[in-house]
């Protein structure tokens, strides 16, 4: 799956756009096409007995949307919530999910050559969910296959049967 994603990027030649956000000191990139909107963090209703990184649900113009804190999920940065806390609203396969991050920096286009395969490493973020590592000048972007990550069982967002 990771490989095919890269292939697709390479085929397209002129590149693929990624929304870049920060978690702690690290920079992550996700496919811009899965992003619906970016908004502030507010009015989240806790859901009982859910994993700690699922903050709860919020009202997005009449739609009930679960909010996931990726900082808690990946144990990065301080999970505090201020007026500056940013929620990226993703639209993944007819489902809408909000993701809390430390900040959104920019949108970057990466070409196939700029995306390197991800090496095997730690267990918090399995390479299974990585599209690769993007290098842009001196910056390194961790490119996440957000769709795969959000629909994974470990995120506990979707019923197994679904």
């Amino acid at each position: 799956m990771e490989a095919s994603a890269i292939d697709k990027v390479q085929l397209e030649g002129e590149g693929h756009e990624f929304l870049v956000f920060r978690l702690g000191a690290e920079e992550y990139g996700i496919d811009i096409l899965s992003v619906q909107e970016i908004r502030g963090y507010e009015g989240v209703t806790r859901i009982a007995n859910a994993p700690s990184f699922i903050k709860g649900v919020t009202n997005l113009r009449g739609v009930i949307v679960p909010i996931v804190d990726l900082r808690l999920k990946f144990a990065l940065g301080n999970a505090d919530y201020t007026a500056q806390t940013v929620v990226i609203v993703l639209n993944i396969g007819h489902r809408v999910v909000g993701v809390v991050v430390d900040g959104v920096s920019d949108v970057l286009a990466l070409t196939g050559e700029q995306i390197k395969p991800a090496p095997e490493f730690g267990s918090t973020l399995s390479t299974h969910y990585l599209m690769g590592l993007g290098s842009l000048d001196e910056r390194m972007l961790i490119l996440v296959d957000i769709e795969k990550l959000m629909s994974s069982e470990e995120m506990a967002l979707i019923d197994k049967a679904a």
């Binding site: 806790r46 009982a48 859910a50 649900v57 919020t58 679904a162």
Partner: protein
């Protein structure tokens, strides 16, 4: 792009289904000894339309069956076949068979061929036995229904508004009926000269799935004297209604039977007589088509959602502008008032789209009652009241099964056999009434019979056998509620009719899931009435909001029996861990919401908070919360659209301030203590069932 005929399958299935259900209504109403010609015609037309469609889509079995059926109906409407109850039964059976076949095609399978042959034989036998001048009709080819058809003749068919791409496929479609002598397409009008044995009605019926009825014009050309000019009539003359002379229509209903025979040799004569009638029928069909519109539920739900949002936004604006100075902001405030009214009206109007009359449900029952009464050897007068009462479509669909079960029960156990009824001094025919009415924000559905009533002693002894805690001192109402208790077996009473399917506990659970409840009123010897109370819609719930710690939850109002503050002495512990509440001689399990949902900062001392006595699935329990906030009507939002199922939560809603509150799933919460308490659960359950 060519016309892909499969696109029209769905339309055909839906229309055919409606036609079949109309047919059943008519068949049930018909009086065999003196059939109403108009009704017979309606049944015939329904069969005929289905046959036409089935032919187009290549549903051979359906086509053949309707064909045989149609022949019989045609004889019946021409008084060549004397109807009697047996024949009506066969007709009803045929209608069922057609439904089955339709369903089979819908699921893209071939219908059961054995059943098909059986019904064909039945129909053929009937035609031979009863029909005068039999055989001929039933053995004739499919393309020659006994509707007084002309022999092969040429006709010119013009179809307006056809794009060039579609013209070819339409012409191919027409070629299936006979030989296309000439075809021409200009200015979006397709002109086809066709030599065919098929009547205009048939072609019209087939084409109506592809093009609108008024797009088509027919013109007959006498066989052999094919008028060449007619094929190239200037298109600008179209449409010329006066020119429309049907080639070989069915004889008008008023036409005497002999004219059917005449029409074979002299097609032009009855054709002219029938023309006005045919036009009138076509006009009526067109106007009823325009009166309604098929829209997918999804679209309607989206509109309902958006309107809900609009109402919330409107109330937010209203709050924001409430302290504005009316002198300086007069026009803004009057605009706000206007907006409020409009938003309310809009919401009401939109909610009413989902509403459907109870008619849809009630219409199924005359047949069911008729068949069951026949099987049981009982005489039943069936009556429905309040057919036009409207109910949410979602509820309409879900109420059918419970109602069917209750009606079956009434027929099977309620109404007695004629001799027993006569012995009891009652008329031989029992009376079964199904009624629907509005009662406040609810709908009340009643099934009442004037039968024997429930047998108190038998229910009590059955309950004892099942280990339920009962006493002879129980009130009647409590005894009747026992039959809804889970595990209350009706095994002894199982008959062919009401033994299968769902039990009464399932009926009760289904209705509880719809947010309603069931009561029984029964008097020995006078009958039983079962009342179902349902909310008008699933989209809105009457709820009580409660606070636990910092969190707000919504309880469905229907589940709440009472709320109270408890004294320390009312609480006892069971096996040290679980607690029960002593209320007026009953011990109810205590469910601490803060513990179930792990809510921080909640009042842990039950005597400081509030206890709500709630009931679900016949079980009561006590739910501990911190504080009651108030009663609201809330719009129910599905939590599972974007998230997964949460144990103990049924849905979510948006409060006036835009925040989300979760709606408690009372049945799930009631099961929670049972799981923990193990063997004690049985005791609580029976205690609850007693209540």
């Amino acid at each position: 792009m060519s016309i892909d005929i499969t696109e029209f399958y769905q339309t055909f299935f839906e229309e055919a289904e409606e036609l079949l259900s109309d047919m059943e209504q008519q068949l049930l109403q018909i009086d065999p000894s003196d059939p109403d010609g108009e009704q017979l015609n309606a049944i015939f037309r329904a069969a005929h339309s289905i046959k036409g469609g089935a032919g187009t889509f290549g549903f051979t079995v359906l086509q053949e069956t309707t064909h045989l059926f149609e022949n019989l109906l045609d004889k019946a409407r021409h008084r060549e076949l004397a109807l009697d109850p047996t024949i009506i039964d066969i007709f009803l059976e045929t209608k069922d068979m057609l439904s089955d076949q339709l369903n089979a095609y819908r699921q893209q399978t071939e219908p059961d061929s054995a059943a098909y042959e059986r019904i064909c034989n039945t129909l053929k036998t009937l035609a031979e036995e009863k029909g005068q001048g039999s055989g001929a009709a039933s053995t004739s080819s499919v393309h020659a229904p006994a509707s007084g058809l002309a022999e092969s003749g040429a006709m010119v068919i013009r179809i307006a508004g056809v794009a060039a791409d579609n013209a070819t496929s339409l012409a191919e479609e027409l070629a299936l009926f006979g030989t296309v002598l000439e075809q021409q397409h200009a200015n979006d009008v397709l002109t086809v000269r066709l030599e065919t044995a098929t009547g205009e009605e048939d072609i019209r019926a087939v084409l109506c799935f592809v093009v609108d009825d008024d797009q088509i014009t027919f013109e007959s050309v006498a066989k052999g004297s094919a008028d060449d000019s007619s094929a190239s009539v200037p298109v600008d003359e179209w449409p010329v209604e006066e020119e429309m002379v049907p080639a070989a229509p069915e004889p008008a209903s008023a036409a005497p039977p002999e004219s059917a025979a005449d029409s074979v040799t002299a097609p032009a004569e009855p054709a002219k007589a029938a023309a006005p009638a045919a036009k009138k029928a076509a006009g009526a069909a067109a106007s009823s088509e325009n009166a309604s519109l098929r829209v997918s539920i999804e679209k309607i739900d989206q509109i309902i959602n958006l309107v809900g949002e609009l109402v919330i936004t409107q109330s937010m604006l209203e709050q924001g502008t409430s302290d504005f100075d009316p002198v300086t902001h007069g026009s803004l405030l009057s605009g706000m008032n206007q907006l409020q009214r409009n938003a309310r009206d809009l919401q009401e109007a939109v909610m009413s789209i989902r509403m459907m009359p109870m008619d849809v449900v009630f219409n199924r029952f005359p047949r069911l009652v008729r068949d069951l009464a026949g099987k049981l050897g009982k005489q039943v007068e069936f009556e429905t009241v309040g057919k036009s009462t409207e109910l949410d479509k979602g509820l309409i669909e879900r109420i059918v099964d419970p109602l069917t079960h209750l009606v079956r029960n009434s027929l099977d156990h309620g109404i007695e056999t004629p001799d027993r009824r006569l012995a009891a001094g009652k008329p031989a025919a029992g009376k079964l009434t199904l009624s629907a009415s509005h009662q406040g924000g609810n709908i009340l559905i009643e099934i009442s019979d004037d039968g024997a009533g429930l047998n108190r002693e038998r229910i009590l002894s059955k309950a004892r056998e099942n280990g339920l805690a009962v006493s002879d001192a129980m009130s009647d109402d409590d005894v009747w509620q026992l039959i809804f208790a889970p595990g209350f077996s009706t095994a002894e009473q199982v008959t062919d009719l009401s033994g299968r399917g769902v039990g009464m506990d399932v009926v009760k659970r289904n209705i509880a899931q719809m947010g309603g409840h069931v009561d029984i009123l029964s008097r020995p010897g006078q009958g039983t009435t079962t009342r179902i109370v349902l909310p008008l819609t699933l989209a809105i719930l009457d709820g009580m909001s409660v606070r636990v710690g910092e969190e707000v939850y919504i309880l469905p109002l229907g589940a709440i029996k009472e709320s109270m503050q408890v004294r320390p002495e009312d609480i006892s512990t069971v096996t040290g861990n679980d607690r029960v509440l002593h209320v007026r001689g009953e011990y109810l399990p205590l469910v601490e919401l803060y513990r179930v949902f792990d809510i921080p900062d909640a009042k842990q001392d039950v005597t400081k908070g509030i206890v709500m006595i709630v009931q679900s699935e016949g079980r009561s329990f006590a739910l501990q919360v911190d504080q009651l906030i108030g009663q609201h009507q809330v719009v129910v939002k599905n939590l599972e659209t974007n998230y997964r199922r949460v144990p103990g939560i049924s849905a979510a809603t948006i409060l006036g301030d835009g925040s989300v509150a979760l709606i408690l799933d009372i049945p799930a919460l009631s099961r929670a203590p049972q799981d923990r308490e193990g063997s004690h659960a049985g005791h609580h359950r029976s205690a609850a069932a007693l209540h």
